[in-house]
């Protein structure tokens, strides 16, 4: 089944508060109450926001307010129905609303015609969900890899809803069904070819499809970020979202790529950047990789998200381009930003 969906993404800090409680809790409470089909809260490992204060999990004292990205996905009218409440909770932060095709149940090969030729396929799962006798996320990533999809990253949420039901990680619990999200990016025909197999592999498939542009792949520049459409859509201003997928060990001039990039952007005055650590994934020619128990170094994928106005993003893209000269997958999307002050 294919429906018109919306994806609501909120960017804030771990310690931000709304009324008497943590913003993160307040937000997922709303999604739980409204039975949002899929929502998840991801804690970043490094980044900065409007206050331009670096937070990183590499230093104890600078890790007390890590950046958070919260995502909620449902049919368009159901997301529209909770916008007012989310606006009230996240009055000071950044929120974007993206159109997405919502796919569930049995799926045939879809038509993915678009000018950019590339799509983002996001798969929403529970952590313990299984497919073919093993963790579903491993099976899904292998499937995407075997179909030549350009990249996929598995992100583990700390809170959220799956099929309308609250799933939350706790300190003393097996974390049975915390939400898990697989972000994958690829050419339209490859993504379309994966869909039928994907829907038969999962017991309750829930996916979204969005348009995007692949800007760089393994050091090769394919296209600059797209320009926003002329004029404003119903009072919404646009934001350019740039996403960089690379391994945690990817480096630029001897420094960790994601970390060096975030520091450089902070110095140059970008609006914000957040790095998320994946559990498993791949990009380009690499085999799927992830956390191994017996290795000191981590070989997990990192997703770094930048959000700024399209005109500022031209400068940041030049920096990203320079720093991803050898590795990484870079994609761009134009997203409507909501209720941001001083636009």
């Amino acid at each position: 089944m294919v429906e018109d969906g919306l994806k609501l993404t909120t960017y804030f800090g771990e310690r931000d508060r709304a009324g008497g409680e943590l913003l993160a809790d307040a937000l997922i409470d709303v999604y739980e109450r409204k039975g949002v089909k899929a929502s998840a809260l991801f804690r970043g490992i490094e980044g900065f926001g409007e206050r331009h204060r670096l937070q990183t999990d590499r230093l104890l004292t600078l890790s007390e307010a890590l950046p958070i990205i919260a995502v909620a996905v449902d049919r368009a009218e159901r997301i529209e129905a909770l916008l007012a409440e989310v606006r009230e909770i996240n009055a000071g932060g950044v929120t974007t609303l993206e159109r997405a095709r919502l796919l569930s149940g049995a799926l045939g090969p879809a038509e993915l015609g678009g000018d950019s030729g590339a799509s983002k396929l996001t798969i929403y799962l529970g952590r313990q969900e299984r497919a073919g006798g093993r963790p579903a996320y491993l099976a899904v990533v292998d499937l995407l890899h075997s179909h030549g999809v350009a990249g996929a990253t598995v992100l583990l949420g700390v809170d959220g809803t799956a099929h309308g039901v609250r799933e939350r990680s706790r300190f003393f619990a097996a974390n049975a069904q915390v939400p898990l999200m697989i972000m994958s990016v690829g050419d339209d025909e490859r993504i379309a070819a994966v869909l039928p197999e994907l829907s038969s592999m999962l017991s309750q498939p829930l996916l979204t499809l969005e348009r995007l542009r692949i800007c760089k792949r393994d050091g090769v520049l394919l296209a600059a970020p797209a320009d926003p459409p002329e004029g404003e859509l119903g009072g919404e201003a646009h934001r350019q979202k740039l996403t960089i997928y690379a391994g945690e060990q990817a480096r630029h001039e001897g420094q960790l790529l994601y970390s060096a990039l975030i520091r450089r952007l902070l110095r140059e005055g970008a609006a914000g950047a957040t790095a998320l650590r994946g559990l498993w994934g791949y990009h380009g020619e690499h085999q799927p990789h992830g956390e191994r128990f017996w290795s000191l170094r981590r070989h997990v994928p990192i997703v770094t998200v930048l959000l700024d106005t399209p005109s500022n993003m031209r400068r940041w893209f030049a920096i990203v381009d320079e720093m991803t000269a050898e590795t990484g997958l870079v994609t761009s999307e134009i997203v409507p930003a909501l209720w941001k002050r001083s636009l």
Partner: protein
């Protein structure tokens, strides 16, 4: 000084030490760019220097307990030093890892010795 008052003092001054560490560490770390754990290093070196100074000045008894064990004991941090070293190892930052361990040890011992010298001990 009564026994209870003394230990209440250890608790309160311990809190002061912990808050000072947090503020100084945050200030140094965020201005230093955050790649090398310079905040923790500054805190541990200054703590070692001050503790050496207290010993050099011949502080003892309750005053030493309050200033040394309570304030400086919670101001400096071994666990953060070790944790951040482990993170550097995980990131494959060999040079920074070696620098973090060697500098903390060598400069730390030197700072304590300097403190004692200044204090006249």
């Amino acid at each position: 000084m009564s026994f209870i008052l003394l230990w209440l003092g250890v608790g309160v001054l311990g809190g002061v030490g912990a808050i000072s560490r947090f503020l100084i560490d945050a200030l140094v770390s965020s201005s230093g760019g955050g790649r090398f754990p310079s905040g923790t290093l500054v805190v541990n070196l200054s703590g070692a220097l001050l503790l050496g100074l207290l010993v050099g000045l011949g502080l003892h008894g309750d005053a030493y307990l309050l200033a040394g064990t309570a304030v400086l004991g919670s101001y400096t941090t071994f666990s953060t030093w070790i944790f951040e070293s482990q993170r550097l190892a995980e990131d494959g930052e060999r040079l920074l890892l070696a620098a973090n361990i060697v500098l903390s040890l060598v400069l730390g011992v030197a700072a304590a010795a300097l403190g004692r010298m200044i204090g006249g001990g």
